[in-house]
Amino acid sequence: MINTVTESSAAPILSVRDLKTYFFPDEGTVKAVDGASFDLLPRTTLGIVGESGCGKSVAARSILRIVERPGRIVGGAILLQQNGSQVDLAQLDPQSQEMRQIRGGDIGLVFQEPMTSFSPVHTVGNQIVETIRLHHPVSTQEARERAIAAFRSVGIPKPERRIDEFAFELSGGLRQRAMIAMALSCGPRILIADEPTTALDVTTQAQILDLLRSLQEREGMTIILITHNLGVVAEMCETVVVMYLGRVVEEGPADAIFHNAKHPYTQALLRSIPSIHSTARAELPTIAGSIPHPYNRPAGCPFHPRCPDFMPGTCDKAEPGLTVVGDGQAVSCFLYDRT
């Protein structure tokens, strides 16, 4: 993809190439991620957006190699740049020492629901100390000081006291801050945030988004933000990847996605969201039908049964590939596929 955001280090820090993660339950095969490709440029925020079942979370979990059984990566590459060399995470053993170092060390993860991600029987501090000591050979005392520093850096008041509390004693916003502190405690280069603000109220969400932004500026972090909320994406991301049923349907710079969307799905999605700027009590444009069940994935382009621009004989026969349509913008739709 053509890079317009950063000029100093244009090479992507992480490249996902034709990633395929399938689940094999007894009932059949679910192609959760089916040929997703995207690049992550250093010090930027990449947004992966889509509705439930589009494969955005599974894509993130594939990068960290924490896809749960019966899921498995069946194809593609996840190339991580590491001190000049390149590692393909898709080829590593999820349990290997190398993968364990990358997970948490190079790439941190923030989950959606901090309540269920923390252990209820250990203090948040102990859990962070454990993480730090797994990655760095430091004493418990020093790890504790680092944990307190991490708490302070994410804006938790009275970090020396909060660190000895349990997750249920913290409010939703503080819990999510603690989660971010834990993800950052080992100084990752990449932070994957999977719906980090979905469980939070809007005013708390604004605080957390501000925090992520200032941390990025301060630490030079690269962020992958996974969300269904187009508002959050518009607010935070330089680059946007739109997914639908396991496939990338469109990707490009945020401004192009929001002001010059090409794919009928992106266009329809943007039209159908209730906006705080729209007139009251007006009928909303809708997308017909609903997301198909993953077992009944439509043939051809997965969006064709709901698409207003459906071309019989084309869209239901073959799957479109990503076609470059503009500066860094690519779309997978036969309307633009000239081959």
Binding site: E51, S52, S171, G172, G173, L174, D201, V202, T203, T204, Q205, A206, Q207, L209, D210, H228, N229, L230, G231, V232, V233, A234, E235, C237, A254, D255, F258, H259, A268, L269, L270, S272, I273, P274, S275, I276, H277, S278, T279, A280, R281, A282, E283, L284, P285, T286, I287, S290, I291, H293
Partner: protein
């Protein structure tokens, strides 16, 4: 239009939950979930209660339905015969006939439908419980209701698992409408749905309101959704209404600093509108131990000394525009256009 009829009028509603501690379960304090809330809903309109978690919007709606009994206050409801009854003080037996006229749409379409019963069982349940019609009439009514909400009547022998989230929410709406209610309380009816499906359900609710002359009490945290369905909006903070006004003026010219902050915190789906947010410091006040004066003052950018000591009252500063802020007249706050 003639003079509007108030279908529902809530006066000084309070609901306190006791906090119990120790072996003796002594009451050591109260969570003031709903603290002196007054509002009215006119026949045929949609009033939204909006606020963040813990602001008391759901508790208020549950009191209105008498799913829980309020601690104090009046809930005046006008049944079809034109009389006025106080729902807050009625006995269980007296409530029964009224319940047919007040129905609820739930938030989670996955947990609010019994997975072991067919659509027919689910939607006909209110009819069966109230012994309305013969079996054949009930069947016809269910078919009619399913058509009304955009589902095929042939599906009535299927179980909920065969339906998507949006379709399940339609089933929940059909059930709520089975008894021809006049008041429908909808508690976050679209927040569990995907965005592309939200619009379908919101459109359906608007259409049904026109078609059947329904009155909605809509409870939500999402201001964009609220803007889409409401005639009037009441913004709640820590158990109180801080501002209540018709939708357009509330969004264009908010009068309470909390409303302003809440609206600016909503991420706008346009990268060109980035960072015009007002980020509130600190956290929502604890309803068990609220601060003195205005509950919002510790987070308010405009707070003055009076805000720390005197509790503001909800007053009407323009016709129909109620606000509880000492400085409502002098402040010029930022709204959203459109």
């Amino acid at each position: 239009m003639g003079s509007p009829v108030r279908l529902l009028e809530v006066n000084s509603l309070k609901k306190f939950f006791p906090i119990r501690r120790g072996v003796m379960r002594r009451v050591v304090g109260h969570v003031r979930a709903v603290d002196d809330v007054s509002f009215f809903v006119e026949k045929g309109e949609c009033l939204s209660l909006v606020g963040e978690s813990g602001c008391g919007k759901t508790t208020t709606s549950r009191c209105v339905l008498r799913a829980i009994s309020p601690t104090a206050g009046q809930i005046l409801f006008r049944p079809e015969d034109g009389s006025v009854v106080d729902v807050a003080t009625l006995s269980k037996g007296e409530l029964r006939p009224l319940r047919r006229q007040m129905q609820m749409i739930f938030q989670d379409p996955f947990s609010s439908l019994n997975p072991r019963r067919t659509l027919l069982d689910i939607v006909a349940e209110p009819l069966v419980a109230n012994k309305i019609g013969s079996r054949q009439e009930q069947l016809d009514r269910v078919a009619e209701l399913l058509k009304l909400v955009g589902l095929r009547p042939e599906y009535m022998r299927r179980y909920p698992h065969a339906f998507s989230g949006g379709q399940r929410q339609r089933i929940g709406i059909a059930r709520a409408l089975a008894l021809n209610p006049s008041l429908v309380v909808a508690d976050e009816p679209v927040s569990a749905l995907d965005v592309s499906v939200q619009a379908q359900i919101l459109n359906l609710m608007l259409r049904l309101q026109d078609q059947l002359g329904l009155t909605y009490l809509f409870v939500a945290h999402d201001l964009s959704v609220v803007k889409h369905v409401s005639d009037r909006v009441a913004v709640m903070y820590v158990g109180r209404i801080v501002e209540m006004a018709p939708t357009a003026p509330l969004f264009a010219t908010p009068k309470h600093p909390y409303t302003e902050a809440l609206m600016s915190a909503v991420p706008k789906p346009d990268p060109r509108l980035r960072s015009q947010r007002i980020v509130l410091e600190g956290e929502v006040a604890d309803p068990a131990n609220p601060p003195p004066g205005c509950y919002f003052h510790p987070r308010c950018r405009y707070a003055v000394d009076a805000c720390r000591t005197e509790t503001p009252r909800l007053r009407e500063i323009q016709p129909g525009h109620f606000v509880s802020c000492h400085r409502a007249e002098e402040l010029t706050l930022r709204g959203v256009s459109g």
